[in-house]
């Protein structure tokens, strides 16, 4: 076992973890943050996307130790019903949500894009979301939602 420290959604944690555990396991099993989903377990689908030190990563491919001393944002740290993040609001308004399993990862990839680049081109939006798969194939509405969120932010 090993001890890691990290800040998740603005809260500091000191956790005892098995070094084999992945960041995904830490978030879901230790912290009960179940909004981070496991879709493929091999970095293909992006359902487990979180923001780690300002960058999106697949939490299924990050070991707990690699997250030591880092700052993490999960979907639970982005908006709520009283004050949704513009991306979340746009996803609902545009109808970019179907089964919803990819949605937390999509929202985090989109949020991170807009944090860095508030006025992205269509191509930049496409690239930013290229690591998140949607099988209901609502890509068109997802891209539109991100665009709308960017416009609202202007």
């Amino acid at each position: 076992m090993m001890v890691i420290e990290c800040i998740v959604n603005d809260k500091k944690y000191v956790l005892e973890v098995d070094p084999q555990e992945r960041l995904l396991d830490v978030l879901r099993n230790h912290l009960g943050l179940l909004g981070t989903k496991e879709g493929c377990g091999e970095g293909e689908c992006g359902a487990c996307t979180v923001i780690l030190d300002g960058k999106t990563v697949n939490s299924c491919l990050v070991l707990a130790g690699q997250a030591h001393n880092s700052v993490i944002t999960t979907i639970e740290g982005v908006g709520n019903r009283q004050s949704p993040h513009p991306v979340q609001k746009a996803f609902v308004e545009v109808g970019a949500v179907q089964c919803g399993f990819c949605t937390p990862g999509m929202v985090l990839s989109a949020k991170n894009l807009l944090d860095k680049n508030p006025h992205p081109s269509d191509e930049e939006i496409g690239v930013a979301l290229s690591g998140n798969l949607c099988r209901c194939t609502g890509y068109d509405k997802i891209l539109r939602a991100v665009k709308l969120a960017a416009e609202e932010g202007k």
């Binding site: 179940l34 908006g79 979340q88």
Partner: protein, 421 residues
């Protein structure tokens, strides 16, 4: 007609929970004291199980139980026919469950599953449906059919002799499609437990909570009223969650251990365990007269049902019914077959048998147009269903057949050069 519903925009109520990551999918529910179930699956497509040795698995600390076929009260399930074992003692496809482990943690259960030794008598397997349908090939389900042909639907209209006599051009081709996995983004997961009444409660993502309920009750020997299936958020399905996956196995583990049971497929296990889209081989012969009118079509469609029936009958029925496409043909002979093989079992998937035949009948239209020297659009306009058309099955279409309007809309965008013959 004016209504407040049609044409008005509505926000999906469920999307709020989903954008905040609050929505519960089956992997997101847990109970105190739950054990974790892992399935051991067959690596062989056709085999008899001679022996299962779980001694090494049981030695591992934290292993609660190992279940095999003998532990299932009524060992069968299936949406049309109960021809699929809950836990197999006779294997008909790679991925058939042969044993189930319950452990205190997922890691222990996985480790124990690797320690289970299964002795198989490997039997000859058959993967080609056209080979499998021959009468001399031993059937995989003798209790259902005396051959591997699960289903044959013949459709006849008009006279083929007259039809071919009128044909100025004929196109004859074979088309094949492949297995496709739904790959819904959320792998199968279940939480099963006995409630204070001794009733079995199963929380899962399913397309058929009511079917699941009956299947679980049957397999466990419970009354229907003693089983409750709660559908949580479904992370994509596309037909792939119509058949039972882990529901009965989890319930059985809960019954045997009297503890809540959690099961979660990895992506790989998910691929091994659920149905696929039917691969089809489609022999098509279509004839048209000089004026571009279709006069005859003969189609033989062979669908690979794989190891179990699932929805194969309904799927191949749909293929047959859609075999002409949206085109009126006076003389038609269609034969559609669903055939058992040792391939992964096939079932419902988006389109449900109607998707495969599109490849065949639309390709035939393009090839006929080329032979006739008219445009692909023109041949479709001359043959498409309209109000009053009669389909191959004899149905008269009485309303709402706007295919001609649809084709008219795309006509301006259609720029393909017409090749002269």
């Amino acid at each position: 007609m004016k209504t407040e519903v049609v044409g008005s925009r509505a926000l999906r109520e469920d999307s709020w929970g989903k954008v905040f990551g609050q929505t519960k999918f089956p992997a997101d529910v847990n109970l105190p004291n739950q054990i974790y179930g892992v399935v051991v699956r067959s690596p062989h497509p056709h085999a008899r199980i001679l022996n299962i040795n779980s001694e090494e698995a049981m030695k591992l600390e934290g292993v609660a139980v190992v279940l095999t076929a003998n532990d299932v009260p009524h060992n069968s399930h299936g949406v049309l026919f109960r021809d699929q074992p809950v836990i197999a003692d006779y294997v008909r496809m790679v991925g058939d469950p042969v044993a189930v482990v319950g452990g205190e943690t997922m890691e222990i259960a996985r480790e124990a599953a690797e320690r289970i030794r299964v002795d198989y008598e490997i039997l000859p397997a058959i993967f080609d449906p056209e080979e499998a349908m021959k009468p001399e090939v031993p059937p995989l389900h003798p209790e259902l059919q005396s051959t591997n042909v699960l289903y044959h639907l013949p459709i006849r209209r008009g006279s083929m002799e007259e039809g071919w006599a009128k044909a100025d051009v004929v196109v004859e081709q074979v088309y094949k499609t492949q297995h496709v996995d739904h790959a819904f983004l959320q792998p199968e997961a279940v939480l099963a437990y006995l409630d204070e009444r001794g009733h079995m409660v199963v929380q899962t993502a399913t397309q058929y909570a009511h079917y699941d309920r009956g299947e679980i009750a049957h397999a466990l020997g419970f009354r229907y009223s003693q089983v409750q299936v709660k559908t949580l958020a479904v992370g994509g399905a596309f037909g792939g969650r119509e058949d039972i996956s882990l529901q009965i196995i989890a319930a059985l583990l809960a019954l045997k251990t009297q503890r809540p049971v959690k099961m979660e497929n990895t992506r790989e296990e998910s691929f091994y365990s659920h149905s696929k889209r039917h691969p089809m081989t489609m022999y098509y012969k279509t004839g048209a007269a000089k004026d571009g009118k279709l006069v005859a079509m003969q189609a033989k469609i062979i669908g690979d049902a794989g190891a179990y029936s699932s929805w194969s009958i309904n799927v191949l029925r749909k293929s047959a019914v859609h075999a002409t496409g949206p085109y009126e043909i006076p003389n038609v002979e269609i034969d559609s077959f669903a055939v058992f093989t040792n391939n992964p079992y096939t079932g419902a998937m988006r389109g449900f048998g109607a998707a495969q035949t599109v490849l065949a009948y639309e390709s035939q239209m393009d090839l006929l147009a080329k032979k006739l020297g008219i445009s692909p659009l023109e041949i479709r306009l001359r043959n498409c269903f309209q109000v009053g058309s009669i389909t191959a099955t004899g149905q008269e279409l009485t309303s709402s057949v706007p295919l001609d309007q649809c084709l008219a809309k795309i006509a301006p965008y259609f720029r393909r050069e017409v090749e002269t013959p």
